[in-house]
């Protein structure tokens, strides 16, 4: 008799990145496997999650893949649109819904955006930077594509723990900042270790003829940080919170310009 036979109609997994756990629900067991492989090391055993998303899989993208990302807020509900996905997120209900095809790239983009939105009010942010822990301290290496994030990650010595080679996760804890590992990878395609440490310094990367660390003034530090922050919405309140997060960070954390040649000796400067 149709509809009577017991069956499992929903699969669920919790992905915990930084201090934020997000439950993803799907009706497709194959997609569940994709998620668990994609976020290996970040799949949480915790039953509780701060946010929950239902993922509706579509047979094909509903928009052109070339459509630019749009992140807008309407009546407390965030709407995320790109050629390959459409998502809605209601922070007050701690619930969202994602429509996409069964690929890990679309949900990766949604995860980054959601974390950015959640972190902003908490004083944290995602940053285009590599990050690593050494001697119990976290160091961030920020720069645009080609600045050397992958290179400096590849050159990391054995005693350094790589948190990410592409997107750093910075959370605020009282008056300190903590860098967390992320599964968001760059060219190195190596998922960062799921651990954390207090942020000791932010380096703005530049490649040059010698290894050199130079302090930067406060305004340059703020500009350098804002230029590398992940930022998706033209929303006045969010702009304010992101700006405040960046300014507070450079008030408390030393920021330097790190010029380096691509060999391992640069890490002698990072202690």
């Amino acid at each position: 008799m149709p509809g009577v036979a017991p069956q499992l109609d929903r699969y669920s997994t919790v992905i915990a990145i930084g201090a934020v756990a997000i439950r993803l629900n799907t009706t497709d067991s194959g997609f569940l496997e994709i998620l668990q492989q994609r976020y290996e090391g970040y799949v949480s055993d915790e039953a509780q999650a701060e946010f929950e998303f239902d993922v509706d899989l579509l047979p094909s993208p509903f928009l052109s893949p070339d459509v630019d990302l749009s992140v807008t807020r309407r009546s407390g509900r965030w709407v995320l649109d790109r050629g390959d996905f459409r998502a809605e997120f209601e922070p007050a209900r701690r619930y969202g819904r994602i429509q996409q095809t069964a690929n890990p790239y679309s949900i990766d983009a949604v995860m980054r955006i959601v974390h950015t939105l959640v972190l902003a009010k908490q004083g944290g942010f995602l940053l285009h930077s590599a990050s690593a822990i050494r001697n119990g301290k976290a160091f961030l290496f920020a720069g645009v594509s080609g600045a050397g994030k992958t290179t400096i990650s590849r050159l990391a010595p054995p005693d350094a723990t790589l948190l990410t080679d592409e997107i750093s996760y910075v959370g605020k804890r009282e008056n300190d900042y903590v860098a967390f590992g992320t599964p968001f990878t760059g060219e190195l395609a190596k998922i960062g270790k799921n651990t954390s440490a207090p942020v000791a310094a932010l380096y703005l990367l530049a490649q040059g003829a010698e290894n050199r660390i130079a302090p930067v003034n406060a305004a340059d530090a703020g500009r350098g940080l804002l230029a590398n922050m992940l930022f998706f919405a033209e929303d006045q309140e969010l702009v304010h919170w992101a700006f405040k997060a960046a300014c507070d960070f450079v008030d408390r954390v030393p920021v330097y310009r790190l010029t380096f040649v691509p060999d391992a000796r640069v890490w002698e400067l990072i202690t």
Binding site: N217, A219, L226, A227, Q236, H240, K244
Partner: protein
């Protein structure tokens, strides 16, 4: 300038003085502006009720060796430029206090 001109910071921006400079971010387009130390003085004094010539006299001419006429021309040019970017309001009447976002309030 024969008529009084008043300037006020737009409520649709976030701003913070970092060192001697000020970063200003417009909500529209998330555009970032950097004000040099002199422009920072003007920015901080842009309360909507103090006329621009008074700001120049009190805060620019008293601090820097500059001819008052030149200082006023420079201030007017800067004010017009910032207004053109939508981050400063200019009026020939005092500008009533506008409600700023909670974030901006902290940096006034």
């Amino acid at each position: 300038m024969s008529r009084k001109v008043y300037i006020a910071r737009s409520p649709r921006i976030a701003a913070r003085k970092l060192g001697e400079e000020t970063l200003v971010m417009a909500a529209q387009g998330s555009t970032l502006f950097t004000l040099n130390p002199t422009a920072t003085i003007l920015w901080q004094a842009a309360d909507g009720v103090t006329a621009l010539d008074d700001i120049v006299e009190r805060h620019i001419c008293s601090e820097f060796e500059v001819e008052p006429e030149q200082a006023m021309r420079d201030a007017e040019a800067l004010a017009q430029e910032l207004a053109g970017h939508g981050i400063l309001l200019i009026s020939e009447q005092p500008i009533p206090a506008v409600k700023n976002s909670p974030v901006q309030e902290q940096y006034r």
